[in-house]
Amino acid sequence: MATQRAHKAARLMISPSVILLLAWMIIPLGTTIYFSFLRYNILTPPASWTGFENYYYFLTDPAFIPALVNTLVLVLGVLAITTIGGILLALLLNMEFWGQGIVRILVISPFFVMPTVSALVWKNMFMNPVNGLFAHLFRAFGLQPVDFLSTLPLLSIVIMVAWAWLPFATLILLTALQSLDSEQMEAAEMDGAGWLSRFFYLTLPHLTRSITVVVLIQTIFLLAVFAEIYVTTAGGPGYASTNIPFLIYNLSLKQFDAGMGAAGGVIAVIIANIVAFFLMRAVGKNLEL
């Protein structure tokens, strides 16, 4: 067997992907780290060396702590809603009823709506305090309409993002539910296990792996939520709905402070890597290759 040759061919076939990803990782990231040590305004170069000043200013920026907290609230809030909601929805859709196919399509549809569309539809047609459907609804019950995006900006963003990701969680969990051994279920029922104990001792353990996957994939995307904030609140009012990505975008492309934006970028990468470290371990355990 030409194992030697086969190995060489294999390496050759992998190399374009590896080289590209390596370059994509090293070049921009290296540049970001380099910029983060410069006093660098995009509009008025040249840049000058400042050491850790950008980090100091970024970490003590009045927007940093709110942005960090908002990022966490956004990620954890959406994860909680989509995971719990997804389990309940999956249980419902797994039951027998008429029109399962159509309901399934209705439930998963929000996942395919591009974030700018979903943000504008929620902002104008639902949350608008004058013409939005929620305002009509509030008035119909004799209540004062709420101006969601200016009084509850972060909650509004959480609602929009959770709406987009609930279908994903539901779909994954439903697929996992369908592979649940029904004989085991029936045996447990025969033995007198109630609905709740069947759920906690059979269904939930069976779903652990898929819940891990849902959390992993959603976290990757939720740490980077941007478009929804960009087209609705622009991070405001104040910093009430600014998350880390939006803060960095604001510093680098709105205030043209490339140095401080880059320092923020490095910090965002560090945060993502801390999260990734734990997630990858969970996944490494859960996915056998």
Partner: protein
Amino acid sequence: MARQTTTGQRALVTLVAWGIGILISFPIIWTVLTSFKTEATAIASPPVWFNFDWTLQNYIDVNTRSDYARYFMNSVVISIGSTLLGLAIAIPAAWSMAFQPTKNTKNVLMWMLSTKMMPAVGVLVPVYLGLRSMGLLDTRTALVIIMMLMNLPIIVWMLFTYFREIPGEILEAARMDGANLRNEIIYVLTPMAVPGIASTMLLNVILAWNEAFWTLNLTTTNAAPLTAFIASFSSPQGLFYAKLSAASTMAIAPILILGWFSQKQLVRGLTFGAVK
């Protein structure tokens, strides 16, 4: 589950499930309905449901007053272009990792996935400045390449997952039966690989079509796809609900339909076969 349910139970579940299904997809349904109204009906209070004069005027207006066709073409070129480019680079890699695994394969795959963890915003500034100095800001070329790089780890992973399920014994059996390499590839491998490649392609088109961070930050007019076009409606002078709805409907319809057909593959693809 094969348990028996009574008709009564089933009717109740049907009612609840439909109610929730309609509730969840309601923003989409409402947008599509609004796109056929006049601006006055669109903001009428109380809201008008079905009994209005249906009109196609908003669709005509969006097409004539804006460059909708160009944004649409940009979306098509960027999503399909980046997907094809990504496939061309990823197929050989995934192929060799699936059929010639070494003790490093798992590490390489994990490392590739970890590049997906790098927040885009962390590298926005250098990418922006680099493209600007190369004169590639606001070009389709730049977006095709960036979108390809963003999705490459996912493409490799998905293809790897699909390829790994092609049993090696089939190849050996074909060889035993006297198939040469050419026939082996054409008659045995390709038919088994094509469905996986097609699913990967479908999912990456969906991901690239909806991606908004890079398109919003790296395009202004020339290369702006539908994500950026829709975002331009957020300015106060763009506040026409019926037109916004028509533009939105046109932006999401192709991907929505593609998504309905690929829901099964979506689960396998996005979870790398970890959930079955």
